[in-house]
């Protein structure tokens, strides 16, 4: 079974085991886990065969949005990622079009429930939850529509410690812990109703929203105001083989690995060096999945330096100015080919190399889910967007921004309140992109523990300053806000290691000289321990260069921050540079002997639902002089189940390839429904309540 039995950060929870059938084969899974995860656990990665090109299809978003994971469950085509597994389910590969699902319905009545609320919040992630709490505090009645069975959104997938500040955004806590904390606050609040496993599917001109509960009922919600905190969706990338099972989003990977504890892969490659890609690599390593490499077409890392440093220390190579040329494999991903690009972003084929991997994660960035905001705005409703739906940033910023969104909505609804100006400044700071990189401070190793900071880039983060019991750590005050980098400013360190344990970047060590040419170094470690005192382990510097094999003296586990503090003995000369322990064997990162170059660049899939390629779209744009995205519907682009959520973001580049400036192009029209809704959800059958 491809399950994660032991994880350094996550605890295994108890499940009932149930039996089900897949294509006639008996399998076992956990009751109520998503069918997609149960299939992955059983090694099944092909979910359907597309009618165009007989192409096998696997999971892509694992988030109920794209429908690529559709399988036939008890006769009905259903998205496996949002269908809970039950005993005895008959699950089959969807081959081409499904049959019309059978029914024996006789009598029914059409009845749609209409709920009323002051504020409808779409999305129970970090920003939605904090805005709900602010509004509820002011006495507003709130309905939160959340498409999962738990609150927290992407927080639930985040097993790493948070940046930001302890005061404003729970810095140092892990995402899933913050989610649980917020969910308990929401549940206690009687002004807030949560509709779980429910998606907003349309905003209507008569100031109502349509809401669909998974495999359940469709209802309408009447509201005075709306907060759109629907998060973001992952951008797809276009290259040949990009729809092979095994090529999917980093978010889907986090869902499988961190939420459902599925060992989704043995060897993974990641494209995109933003925080999502970097953290994805870290999560993979924690789940004992090999990370062959990360590439980014840009010439510098897009995410936080502390993240990329951390990944490289663990033994993951980072290839900049490098892009994925193709993915290949029979029925599922077996290999990818990457190459460096020149200054015009064109691949340099001489640099091409192939890696044998079973999974390629696409972490090419996010785009806001703001279509509800746009329709609500168009209709003149009181609406505010928050979190990623407003602007892509860290969850720490989303939580703070959500509070402002809540207060702003209260004002819009006529409540006389003042919003502290400092809030807006803080919100801006939390949204900051990674900033300036400094030279490390000169370190003097003393005979008692003092901290060394390998945190040398301006990012919004300061929990080390608030956790230190002796107030030894301050920020260097160059900018005068939490973007500043930390300093050891008060020489009273007692060697407690709290700063080492809390640092989300794992960028703080403690050092002390023990003999003339030796030192003890305390390092953070978020992996299962595979060594004991006396063992020698490879200790690296900030960028992953192995300094020496150092002897482990002791280890202790900080429960609150779920981090091991490992003390090693190493040479004094290296001690101040030591910051990490390599966990991955470099062999896994080697390329294959033969480079795979047998592909056509324009065979990449743009519209995943209908499998429309770059070439088909470019040819059509030229032939039909297309200047309106709606024209592409003629070749099925955007007509599939996802309703152009995935392909619309890719189109500017495709138009450019066809020689058309996208600013001359009219965007596609978005209509309800944003998620498909079965007719049965709008009726009550005879005898049903």
């Amino acid at each position: 079974m491809n399950r994660i039995e032991k994880h350094p950060v996550l605890d295994k929870t108890e499940h009932n085991t149930v039996r089900f059938n897949f294509d006639g084969k008996e399998m076992e899974g956990f009751e109520n886990e998503p069918v997609s995860s149960a299939l992955f656990a059983n090694g099944v990665k092909e979910f359907s065969i597309h009618k165009k090109g007989n192409a096998p299809q696997g999971i892509f978003c694992a988030n109920g949005q794209c429908s690529q994971c559709t399988v036939i469950i008890n006769g009905s085509p259903l998205k496996s990622c949002v269908t809970p597994l039950k005993e005895g389910m008959d699950i089959r590969t969807l081959i081409h079009l499904p049959e019309l699902p059978e029914t024996d319905m006789k009598d029914f009545e059409q009845k749609t429930e209409t709920l009323k609320t002051d504020v409808l919040i779409v999305g129970g992630g970090p920003s939605g939850l904090t805005s709900a709490l602010e509004l509820a505090k002011l006495g507003f009645k709130i309905i939160i529509v959340e498409d999962k069975d738990k609150l927290g959104g992407k927080l639930l997938l985040q097993t790493h410690k948070f940046f930001g500040s302890q005061e404003d955004s729970y810095a140092g806590m892990r995402g899933f812990e913050i989610a649980a904390l917020l969910e308990s606050q929401i549940k206690e609040n009687e002004n807030i109703t949560v509709l779980y496993e429910s998606s907003a599917v349309g905003i209507y001109k008569d100031q109502k929203a349509g809401v669909y509960k998974n495999n359940g009922k469709f209802s309408l919600i009447e509201f005075d105001g709306m907060v759109i905190s629907a998060g973001a969706r992952e951008k797809s990338l276009v290259f040949p083989g990009n729809d092979l099972p095994g090529v999917y989003g980093a978010g889907a990977f986090q869902t499988l690995v961190n939420r459902d504890l599925i060992k989704a892969s043995d060897k993974v490659f990641i494209v995109g060096s933003g925080n999502v890609g970097l953290i994805g690599a870290y999560h993979a390593l924690q789940a004992n999945i090999g990370v062959v490499g990360i590439c980014d077409i840009l010439d510098k890392v897009s995410g936080y330096k502390v993240h990329s440093d951390k990944i490289q220390r663990m033994g993951v190579p980072l290839y900049l100015k490098t892009t994925v040329l193709a993915a290949d494999g029979k029925d599922k991903l077996e290999r990818i080919t990457v190459a460096e690009v020149d200054k015009n972003w064109q691949p340099i084929l001489e640099t091409a190399r192939t890696y044998e991997v079973d999974t390629l994660l696409i972490a090419a960035g996010l785009s806001p889910v703001d279509e509800f905001y746009k329709s609500a705005k168009k209709f003149g409703f009181k609406v505010i967007k928050a979190g990623d739906a407003d602007e892509i940033a860290e969850a720490s910023s989303a939580m703070f921004g959500g509070r402002i969104a809540g207060l702003t909505m209260a004002k819009e609804l006529g409540r006389k309140i003042e919003i502290d100006k400092a809030y807006y400044e803080k919100a801006e700071i939390l949204k900051s992109k990674p900033g300036k990189v400094y030279e490390p401070n000169k370190v003097v190793v003393k005979e008692y523990f003092t901290p060394v900071f390998q945190c040398i880039q301006d990012i919004p983060c300061n929990p080390c300053t608030t956790v230190c019991p002796k107030n030894c750590i301050t920020l260097d005050n160059k900018l005068g806000n939490i973007l500043d980098i930390p300093l050891y400013s008060n020489d009273e360190c007692i060697g407690c290691g709290l700063c080492v344990a809390i640092c989300p970047g794992l960028a703080i060590s403690l050092v002390k000289q023990v003999e003339e040419s030796f030192a003890e170094v305390m390092l953070p470690h978020e992996f299962l321990l595979d060594f004991v005192p006396g063992d020698k382990i490879p200790v690296t510097d900030i960028s992953g260069k192995t300094l020496e094999d150092a002897e482990v003296l002791s280890s202790r586990f900080n429960k609150k921050y779920k981090t091991h503090l490992i003390t090693v003995k190493m040479s004094l000369a290296n001690a101040h540079k030591a910051i990490g322990i390599r966990v991955q064997d470099p062999k896994i990162t080697e390329p294959a002997k033969e480079t795979y170059l047998d592909f056509l660049p324009d065979d990449g899939i743009v519209c995943r639902c209908e499998r429309v390629t770059v070439k088909e779209i470019v040819d059509f744009i030229k032939e039909y002089h297309v200047r309106d995205v709606n024209q592409l519907k003629q070749i099925r682009v955007g007509m599939g189940a996802c309703g152009s959520k995935t392909c619309s973001i890719l189109l500017p580049r495709i138009f450019a390839q066809a020689g058309v400036d996208y600013s001359e192009v009219t965007p596609g029209t978005i209509r309800p429904l944003t998620v498909e809704v079965p007719m049965s959800s709008l009726i009550n059958e005879d005898g049903e309540k």
Binding site: S76, P77, L97, P98, E99, L100, P101, E102, T103, M105, K106, F108, Q110, T112, G202, Y204, K205, D206, K208, G210, F218, L220, F379, E623, Y624, H625, V626, R627, D628, N630, Q631, K633, Q634, R636, M639, A641, G643, T666, R671, P672, L673, E676, V677, P678, M679, S680, L682, I683
Partner: protein
Amino acid sequence: MKNYDILIIGAGSVGLPLSYYLSRKGKKVAVLDKRPSYGRGQNRAAIGGIRATHSDPAKIKIGQMSIEIVKEIEKNEGIAVDWIEGGYLYPVYDDEKEKALKSLLEVQKSYGLNIDWIDAPKVIELVPGITEEGLRGGTFSPGDGSASPLKVAGAFFKLSKTAGTEFIFNEKVVSMEMDGDKIYKVITDKEEYSADLIINAAGGYGKEIGEMCGLDLPVVPDSHEAGITEPVKHFFKPMVVDLRSDNQSANFYYYQNYEGQIVFCVTPEPKLYGVDCDNTSEFLPLAVRRILTLHPKLKNIRIRKTWRGLYPMTPDGFPIVGKTKKVSNIFLAVGMCGQGFMLGPGLGKIISEIIVDGSKEYDFILDQLSLYRKFEGNELLK
């Protein structure tokens, strides 16, 4: 000022084929549309039915030609338009409708149409899962069918452009300048145009265009709502029309398109007058009630999208086609009453023959669809 032989206002269901046939006959033709591309007015909202089985000579002729033309595009031009010859089926559940349709049948047969009454088992065979209780049978016209409005529009755009038509998008006609009884200038928000003949094929906005040259055209749009499901394997072929009404709707109709998706459209009652095409929350529950009442087997299918489109209605439910007494160089092709997609191809060909060849063959159509008729009758099969 740009000059053309013929300037068509509206690149929609009517304007597109019309421009093709006119260009093919050697005319210098331009098509103006305020929208960013072709077929973005009501063509994009059409669900795709094309039938010849109307109840009057003009529309029967036009419909027959439309079917021929659409089939030919696939056969002769090699452009896929997803034609399905699945027929039109009007299932009947009450005495009144049975009588009405049977008496209409006499008229339709007298025009030589291929339509007949079929009994309940035959209806069930054609539409598996249709409600059997109270089913009396229905009328069925096997030669009718459906095609993709998107693809038909795209095909005519391509053919017309190749034939020499100039398409001008994103330009809205704002006024016209008259010289006596002649339109001297058509002024858009960007340019000025003149033409020997101007054709009003502006669909939902035909009345507005008419007003610019002093014509009062009795065309009032009202909005209908439609939807489409996920695709499933084909299991029925006809366009099914339920003529019954309930407290929120008049008739409704649906079929399974080439892709396997069920496409449906409901006529709201009372009418939603105006050009507002924004969705309201009332449609989905209504549509589901109508569909499942007639066809409960569809219960578990998922609805993908819904939209609204306009029916530019005339008082008697028939289009307005022809020249006017007041303005000498305008030709009207407006008031399609929601049938622009199915009438467009035939009408385009006919109008081109009237205008360019001076054909008299279609005088009966011009008489019947004249702006100066009394608008007293009432279309039986709207």
